[in-house]
Each structure stands twice: as C-alpha cells, then as structure tokens.
C-alpha cells in the first residue's frame, strides 16, 4: 500500500492475501494432509457498497466470511475493518470488534437461541456494550424490530413462534443492534422459501440505503446477487477467479467458471438486459496465457495452488490467468 490512503476512498473492509489452511488427518495411517481452503484472497469493500462473493459450496467463501468476523483465525494474510486489523497485534478485542462488523447467517432456524426471547437476544448485546438504562435498551430493541419490518411486541416471543423469513429478519435486527457499518451476509436468503426471498432482499437494500451500510454478501446463487451487488467476486477452489463491477462480470463473463455459473441461471439474458439467451462469446485471455484454474477437472485443494495472477481484462474487470 502507498502512503496515507485518501479517507474518502478508504475501504471499510480490506482483505489482503488471505490464506486459511486446515490440517486434516486422512486414511488409516493418519497421514497428515493440509486443506487449502482459502488461498490468497484479496477483497475490498468501499463504504456504502455491496460486494458479492460468489461460488459453489466448499469453495472457501464461508471460511472467508468467518475469518473476516474473527471466528476463523487465518493462516496468513491481513484483514482490516475500518482500518483496524482483525487479528494480530493492535487488533481490537472481541467486544470492540463487535461494533465494527456483524454477520447474518444462512440458517434461520439455528441463528436464534431457542431459549431466549427475541427481546433478550437483542437487548443482551446492548447491555454488554454499556447501555445501562433499561428504557433505552427497550427503545433500541423496538427500533431495530421496526427497521426489519417486525413489531415491538414481538420482543416478548420465542424464536419458535416465528416463520423462517421472520427469523431471518430477527437475525438482521440482531446484526444491526450495535450499529455496525459493515454487515457480512452469509447466504442470507438461500434457506428461505422463494416467495420470501425477494422480501428479505428488498429489506436488505432498504437498510443499506437508509443506514448507509456496507455489505459483503456470500452466495452461491447469482440470481440473488444481481439485485443487490455493486461488485462481484467469483471464488473457485479457494481463489478469486474473476472480479469486477457486476455489469462487467455478468455481461462479459471471461473465466470459464464464471460462465458456467451464469449458465446455471434459468434465464441469464434477463440479468443483463440482453435480448439473447446465449452468453456473449468469451473474451480471449491476454496473449500467452490461459484462464486458470481449469474447470474441467476438480482442483485438488490438498495441494497449494499453482502460481497464477488476476490480470485486468477490461475496465473494472479482472480474471485469473497463468502463462502457458
């Protein structure tokens, strides 16, 4: 990084060269292996933006999310939220970190403690963060519930009295209660009924506008991503294989993996506004290189990835290649 970054352009979230490796003992003889879950991921989210991290399950996107939230210590690399490191010397403690970033989980059924009323789940964190007045806590809980389209009376109820969509709203209210500026959305709608998804997506977009939030949205479903995101990063086998503004990535997908993901959407043309249902021809990789990693065979994540690099292939559009 160059000297003092321009404050206006300072990203709210910056992930640099993140690696997460898991030791696994496999086989009868207990041979030690290493899984390279995340291999050199760089991300940055500007204030007020939504970056979507897209990929199939097991590609390392949720591990990246957990690492950003301080729940999964990285093997190497740096993560900063609002300029403050999440790990290492000078990192704020768990409590201070809580006011910087929050997460909304995928499963609306395990996201709430079945033995806590909604009011308690929302007011306990406030108490922990020094809101001593009971009236103020009740007021902030009521506000948070209204913000997500629920009623203040719902605070007295237990999670099992709500539907999946309502629970997800409560999960969002909990993420908002401490007033963070960054929210990580880990597949926020993929466990919900299709009929509910649009409501939650609209809620998330309204909240982003009204509260000036920044999102990192993790998803395997491009159809969800397109409504919300400003930028898209496509992740495959622990690496970012393509990234850019969402229009660039969707209208001119370059990497074969991105193209394959887009082909799984029932009507891709609807996304890009094009007339054709057929994807535009893939741009050629820069001469002397090929898109990497190949998608015709499953990459072996028990080996460190072969060297490759993200190169610019258009304005605000990069893809991963390696020289041949």
């Amino acid at each position: 990084m160059s000297a003092a970054p321009d404050p206006a352009g300072a990203p709210i979230l910056k992930v640099e060269d993140l690696h997460v490796r898991f030791p696994v003992s496999g086989g009868l003889l207990g041979r030690k292996r290493t899984l390279h879950a995340v291999s050199g991921v760089d991300l940055s989210v500007q204030p007020g933006q939504c970056l979507s991290l897209v990929g199939e399950s097991g590609c390392g996107k949720s591990t990246t999310a957990l690492a950003i939230m301080g729940l999964q210590p990285p093997s190497s690399g740096a993560i900063t939220v609002e300029g403050r490191p999440v790990y290492g010397p000078g990192a704020p403690d768990r409590r201070a970190r809580a006011r910087l970033a929050q997460i909304v989980f995928q499963d609306p059924f395990s996201t709430l403690n079945p033995r806590e009323t909604v009011g308690r789940a929302l007011s306990q964190p406030l108490m922990l963060h020094g809101v001593r007045s009971r009236a103020e806590r009740a007021e902030r809980v009521a506000t948070a519930l209204r913000q997500v389209g629920l009623l203040p009376e719902h605070a007295a109820r237990y999670p099992h009295e709500f539907s999946g969509g309502q629970r997800q709203r409560i999960g969002i209210a909990r993420a908002l209660i401490l007033g963070p500026r960054l929210i990580v959305l880990d597949e926020p709608v993929s466990a919900l009924d299709v009929s509910i998804r649009a409501q939650i997506i609209n809620l998330l977009m309204d909240l982003q506008q009204n509260l000036g939030l920044s999102y990192l949205m993790i998803s395997h479903d491009l159809g969800v991503v397109e409504h919300v995101s400003d930028r898209v990063a496509v992740m495959f086998a622990g690496q970012i294989v393509e990234e850019g503004g969402w229009r660039e990535v969707f209208t001119a997908p370059a990497h074969p993996y991105t193209r394959r993901l887009i082909e799984t959407i029932p009507n891709p043309a609807r996304l890009t506004g094009g007339a054709s249902e057929i994807l535009p021809p893939a741009p050629e990789p820069p001469s002397g290189s090929i898109f990497w990693p190949p998608v015709d065979r499953r990459p072996d994540i028990s080996q460190p990835p072969e060297p490759s690099a993200l190169v610019s292939i258009g304005e605000d559009h990069r893809a991963r290649v390696r020289p041949v």
Partner: protein
C-alpha cells in the same frame, strides 16, 4: 399440541414431595424413636396400627426408621449429585467449547473415572476418610460426574457451531458468558435428567456403602444399613427389607419422573401461547 396435565411431572412431584415431607417432618409423623425405642419383647412384629411398617429384629419401629433414614439418604443423594453435576457440567462445558489440550485432559480424566467402577472408587475414599456423612458426600460427590461431563461435552460440541453461538461471539460475548447464557440453557434437559438419575444413583450408592458398613454408622438409620440389618431375616421378616427397599424405589422413581417432567416443562417449544 395442548397438554393440560403432565402426568410425569405431577406424579414425580408427588412422589418426591412425599419423600421430602416425610424426611422433614419425620419427628412429628412418628411416635416411636428410630433408635432408642428398641423393644425386644415386640421385635419382628408384622405391620399393625401401632407399627405401620412392623418392627425389626431389635423391636424398633420400621416406619420411624424409614422416615428418619430418608433425611440421611436424601441429603446425601441431593448434595452428592449437586457436587457431581457441578463438576461434570463445568468440565463438560469448558472442554466441549474450548476443545484443544483442555478437552484432551478432561477426556482423559473422564475415561479414567469411567474405567474405575465408581462404587469401588467411593469405597476406597471411604476407607481413607472413615465412615460418616461428610466422607460420604466427598466420596459420592467426586466419583460420579463422568456421565454428566460426557453428555454436557457432546451436547456442547454439537451446539457450538450453531448460528446463535457464533453470533454471540461476533456480538462480543465472552466465552464464560456464552457457556452460561447460550449453551447451558440449551443442554438443561439432558443435564437435568442425568442429575435426577444421579440422585437416584447416589441414594443407591449410599445404601450400598452403608450396607457394606462404610457409610452411615449404625444405629443411626439409613436405608442401606436397614437393608443390611434385615437381610438375613428377609424370609421371616420381609417388611423390614421391603419398606426401606420401597423407599429407595419411590425416591428414585420420583426423581426420574420429576426430571422428565421438568425437561418438558422447561422446553419453550412445548409451551402453548394463549
């Protein structure tokens, strides 16, 4: 689902209250002293109006001895199991949540405790400490926590990846607070069932140790030493063994039903909102 009446809770509560009330009001409910009113002229009498449960080989009132024995048995059962549960829950929660080397240490200890029959271990402790209520509490309270620990640990391990536990961490909850407010309330069911079973087990273990002469010293009544005393005459004087045996049975059954009922009652999913 609407359950207006919970049979297990009601019955368990009734049996446990019966035993507890009997223990608390033993001096008021009995007209014979459990130790001093030994009347050899009236020994081995079958149940009658004067001696509801009959008399034993020394002519002491069995009813009075069963009620006074309940004080000893219940105190030891409840206190010993409270110690066991506290140890088991504390070790199981911390081992399941933190994992790592601490989990290995706790696991090793648990396996060690499970490998030694707890009654034999308790016997050894009693042999060192000598008979008496305090030694019984220590011996029974330190030797039967392994199952509580196991169950707590495995429940915690399956719960700790739940969204609400992760969310608590991202909201800044400390580890101890997560264990006490997020994990403990969700494992209260199995832990309560273990604890109530444990009370029954401790009552039985106390009886066994007293039976072996290492528990409560005669002539003080305890269900265990009553069984020892009457065992040889079990054919001719069956009431002297049946009633203390029945007392153990009712106590254990009562605590089991109660634990079951309380688990249902504590579960908010079983509650119906009007």
């Amino acid at each position: 689902m609407h359950i207006p009446f919970r049979l297990n809770l009601t019955l368990g509560l009734a049996l446990v209250s019966l035993v507890i009330l009997g223990a608390v009001f033993a001096p008021l409910l009995t007209s014979h002293d459990p130790i001093l009113d030994a009347d050899l002229m009236n020994s081995e009498m079958p149940p009658s109006w004067d001696h509801w449960f009959g008399t034993d080989s020394q002519g002491r009132d069995v009813f009075s001895r069963v009620l006074h024995g309940a004080r000893v048995s219940l105190t030891i059962g409840i206190v010993a199991q409270a110690i066991n549960s506290t140890i088991g829950i504390a070790l199981g929660l911390s081992a399941g949540y933190w994992g790592g080397w601490w989990d290995d240490v706790v696991n090793g200890l648990t396996n060690l405790m499970l490998a030694i029959p707890s009654l034999v271990f308790a016997l050894a402790i009693m042999a060192v400490l000598g008979p008496g209520v305090m030694s019984l509490l220590i011996a029974l309270g330190l030797t039967n926590w392994s199952w509580s620990c196991r169950i707590t640990r495995s429940a915690v391990m399956s719960l700790k990846s739940q969204g609400y536990v992760q969310a608590a961490r991202t909201l800044g909850y400390g580890d101890i607070r997560i264990m006490l407010t997020q994990l403990l309330p969700n494992i209260v069911g199995p832990v309560l069932v273990m604890a109530t079973l444990g009370i029954g087990e401790a009552v039985l273990a106390e009886a066994a140790l007293s039976f072996l002469g290492l528990g409560i010293r005669p002539p003080a009544p305890s269900w265990g030493n009553m069984l020892t005393d009457a065992r040889e005459a079990i054919r001719s004087v069956p009431w002297a063994t049946i009633f203390p045996g029945l007392a153990v049975f009712i106590t254990v059954l009562g605590f089991n039903l109660l634990g079951d009922g309380v688990r249902d009652w504590l579960d908010p999913r079983m509650q119906v909102r009007a």
